[in-house]
Amino acid sequence: MVALANLLSTSVHWHGVSQMGTNNMDGVNGVTECPLAPGQSKTYTFLATQYGTTWYHSHFSSQYGDGVLGPIVINGPASQNYDVDLGVLPITDWYYTAAQQLDYRLAPTGNLPPVADNGLINGTMVGPSGSGGKYNVNTMQAGKTYRLRLVNTAVDNHFRVSLDGHLMTVVQADFVATEPYTTDWLFVAIGQRYDVLIHANQTVGNYWFRAQVQSLCGDNANSSKLHQSRDEFIANTMQTTSSLSSRTRVHQAATLTHLQAITPRAVMT
């Protein structure tokens, strides 16, 4: 373990946030500020002139791949009504080796980016071997409409996102409100945000929320492993209940390959 101060600097960027008149708050070290050395602080002050969903992340080298990121929600009007805001669902690739270490090793080689070891939804996932970790779970009440804020915070993977048995209505793309349109899946590139509405209008049960790595848009060991079967990758469970007071334990797949066997089932009330 070696402490190299020049790898431990940072600055935090507010992705997609307009900084008209506050350019020095943009958080892009080397461009709008000097990086913050260990022990240093900086207060970033800016007006939220836009509304919707975005994220903040380190703009120092590849450091955000090591964890320096988080969601931003700016409440505002929406182009279609919904009942409940489920909040942000960050989706990312995940590496067992530090991003800055991979970056340093690869720089002189000319090789392609490494294959990601796994992917995370809202910072959690079952391990590629099927043990360890857990799926992220969201719960919806049948009949209600939910807003879900998707953000791809990955370093290299792009995702095709869908929820089994449900359609998604897009009401915002990045910080721009859209005429609502309905789709059964979305391609979410790195850094992109989509705000979608989901109507819990299907039979009460458990549904896989899927984020599949797309060919030529990054590679993921957890995806490759399953490619022969169905090219399924990472999943989050969206659980619907007949009422919020009747939550039941979510059916956890023992291994990722069991994803295919999962079918909606009634929840005991």
Partner: protein
């Protein structure tokens, strides 16, 4: 310089240019349906629900049954690139970055966490609020 590094560099540049693009691009007609990935053969159907984009009601209360409304003359039809509220309210957050080890999928890995968590805490504010976020770099080890 390797492709991974180049990739990151170009990505970093892209990230940096996004706010500028948002500022520089001409007025966006938000009434035009956005087709983000038509090349991907994505089936797009207009919602059966009526759009709220055309509605404008200044004397209204934002609610689950009137999401188009916001406040004081600002609503879904406002062009947020040229017009926005200023609430005069400041929302403050402290983000401290530290080294830690986490096991989000069962395998322990080194993480640079924000306030001890990954992903970092959600910053929440209202349209027109001022954000004041103090970032403290408390990183000590890179391995």
């Amino acid at each position: 310089m390797g492709s991974f590094s180049r990739y990151l560099s170009s990505f970093a540049l892209l990230l940096h240019t996004l706010p500028q693009l948002a500022v520089a691009r001409p007025t966006v007609d938000i009434l035009t349906p956005i087709t983000p990935h038509s090349a991907h053969d994505q089936s797009i159907r207009h919602s059966a629900h009526s759009s709220l984009l055309l509605s404008r009601s200044t004397n209204c209360t934002h609610s689950s049954s009137d999401r188009a409304c916001w406040s004081d003359g600002f609503d879904i039809s406002t062009d947020s690139e040229t017009s926005w509220p200023n609430t005069g309210k400041t929302v403050s957050y402290n983000l401290e970055i530290t080294n830690t080890t986490m096991s989000p999928d069962g395998t322990p890995v080194m993480v640079f966490a924000v306030n001890g968590q990954y992903p970092g805490p959600t910053i929440t504010a209202d349209w027109g609020d001022t954000l004041s976020v103090t970032v403290k770099n408390s990183l000590q080890y890179n391995g």
